[in-house]
């Protein structure tokens, strides 16, 4: 984040942070992001955040099942049919393998999608607005843009303060 163009409202109580967000949204003030040591569901609601990962997961599962059955059928019916204990080659017991591998593909690809979407990878460099968010502080980040005049800034400060921010920093 570039320096001196953010307002950070620091809270030490999740509910306070939530109310602050509520206020800001009400006043049509764009919130860049909220950092917290643990998830705050109300904040998502207020900010109307959504994710489409579940749909993807379903697709992965479906594809997984199909391809696994495809392989099983090809290998044991077409490619090299062998008789085991008088059973038909296209056996009912494929279900077991299909079931398990469906789950596997679901899990792995879901995770990958998540990592990609979040742009997370081992050794990624980060700098937090405030390291304490990893411990006990909740920080609301508001970006300052050129058309943001003194008054507005002041208003934001007050809003944050009133809704219980322990400190409001510029950075």
């Amino acid at each position: 984040m570039k320096a001196n163009n953010h307002i950070l409202g620091v809270f030490d109580d999740p509910d306070a942070a939530t109310t602050a967000v509520e206020q800001l949204v009400k006043n049509k003030i764009a919130i860049k992001d909220v950092f917290s040591p643990f998830p705050l569901e109300h904040v998502w609601k207020k900010l109307k955040m959504k994710t489409r990962i579940p749909y993807l997961t379903f697709t992965y599962g479906a594809l997984g099942t199909a391809s696994v059955y495809g392989f099983l059928y090809w290998s044991s019916v077409i490619n090299y049919p062998l008789i085991f204990g008088g059973k038909p080659t296209n056996s009912l017991s494929f279900v077991v393998v299909m079931f398990v591998l469906t789950i596997l593909s679901g899990v792995i690809f879901t995770l990958l999608t998540y990592l990609v979407r979040e742009k997370l990878w081992p050794g990624k460099q980060v700098n937090l607005p405030d390291p304490r968010t990893m411990d006990d502080k909740f920080v609301i980040v508001i970006e300052k843009n050129k058309n943001m005049d003194e008054a507005l800034t002041k208003k934001i400060d007050d809003l944050l303060k009133n809704s219980g921010a322990v400190e409001v920093n510029e950075s």
Binding site: Y80, P81, L82, G123
Partner: protein
């Protein structure tokens, strides 16, 4: 045991195909004469036509020297004639150091006459003359130069080595680029790293797959033999039938390595070769003298848990030696051309047709016959009669 009449026709057929490959003849040949040529392939062990004396006399003009009747009976069984004291016979017998010409009870008069015709013809199949001329020319060249087959082999062998080297290089490159990517950010353009790594993975992957599959296999294996023996000369130029030396191919699981005595059939006379002079042939005599059998190096090896039977494939399946051993007639030094993997066997078992109608044995496969009649299947492959079962080869 002795020649059994019922054997010959079968053998005839294989050698018939064999001849076709040898002559590379594009034109269809009249069966009779073609068969004569094939029958003569055996005579070639001891006789030439205008090529000078071998074990037996040069047959050029023999048809003028003797009456056809005499020749026929002589070829049928020379020894009887010698015993019966036929002058000419005895004379020839003594002249050629009392080596009797083996009898051919199985050959019909017609066949023998046919052969004589072939000899008269100067060893040309009537009609296929041109073709044969050409092929002869080709072969004489081939002996000096490296034949296409061998060339091909070498390429493949080299190809494998090259792949190995490339893989090594790519591996090193990958390592470097990775180091650079993480620690020393020397190259700024990241995509370079990615490309190197990806292509590296590809090459190394291919190489390791190739390596893994060739484990315990020896494709392109081409050991040096105790005697510099050229199949190109024997099978190629002199057109000696494979089964002249590998005589048990139709009676046993092993094709058989010829005893030195078989070599002696010709080399008791042929004491020197075009390319190696006396040196190599002398080794045979040494072996005989020292009573030490020649230790040939086995080229085509199968693992011990695989049961392979030549009789099944050569006699029953009517496969040509080539189909597994490659075009031996084009190789000086024999190499293993196929990887002899289970997959390779099965591919053939899946494609190759069995002698389903020709061989009475298969009459027992009622259901298949019905299918065949009903036209449900066009032909019967080995697979359909259990060619994919484990215990056809593993027990």
């Amino acid at each position: 045991m002795y020649v059994t009449v019922k054997k010959l026709p079968v053998k005839g057929l294989t050698s018939f195909l064999f001849l076709f490959f040898i002559l590379l003849s594009s034109i269809s040949v009249h069966a009779q004469t073609a068969e004569a040529a094939k029958n003569f392939a055996e005579c070639r062990a001891c006789h030439t036509i205008g090529g000078g004396r071998l074990v037996g006399p040069d047959l050029k003009g023999v048809t003028e020297k003797h009456s056809e009747k005499w020749l026929v009976s002589f070829i049928r069984n020379s020894q009887e004639m010698v015993k019966s004291g036929d002058k000419e016979a005895v004379k020839i017998f003594n002249e050629y150091s009392k080596i009797p010409m083996p009898s051919h009870p199985a050959l019909s008069d017609a066949q023998i006459k046919d052969i004589l015709l072939y000899i008269k013809n100067g060893g040309k199949v009537a009609g296929a003359g041109q073709a044969k001329e050409k092929s002869n020319v080709k072969k004489t060249e081939a002996t000096e130069t490296v034949s296409a087959v061998e060339h091909n082999l070498n390429n493949q062998r080299e190809g494998r080595n090259n792949l190995g080297i490339t893989a090594l290089i790519m591996g090193i490159l990958m390592l470097l680029s990775l180091i650079d990517l993480i620690f020393t950010h020397y190259l700024k353009a990241k995509w370079v790293h990615y490309i190197i790594v990806l292509s590296g993975l590809w090459v190394v992957g291919e190489w390791s797959y190739d390596f893994a599959t060739s484990l315990g296999r020896q494709q392109y294996y081409q050991p040096d033999q105790p005697i510099w023996f050229s199949h190109k000369v024997h099978a190629g130029q002199n057109q000696i039938d494979c089964e002249y030396c590998h005589f048990t191919a139709e009676t046993s699981m092993h094709a058989g390595i010829p005893p030195a005595s078989v070599c002696m059939n010709c080399h008791s006379q042929v004491k020197q070769g075009k390319r190696t002079g006396k040196k190599e042939i002398a080794k045979i005599y040494a072996a005989i003298r020292k009573n030490k059998p020649i230790k040939w190096v086995k080229v085509d090896n199968l693992p011990d848990f695989v049961y392979f039977n030549h009789e099944q494939h050569v006699k029953v399946g009517k496969l040509d030696c080539k189909e597994c051993h490659g075009d031996v007639a084009q190789m000086d030094q024999i190499a293993q051309v196929n990887d002899l993997s289970m997959g390779w066997c099965l591919d053939c078992h899946r494609k190759h047709k069995v002698q389903f109608v020709n061989n009475k044995f298969y009459a027992q496969y009622k259901a298949l016959h019905d299918k065949l009649k009903a036209g449900k299947i066009k032909d019967v492959t080995v697979k359909m009669v259990g060619g994919e079962d484990c215990q056809k080869c593993h027990y």
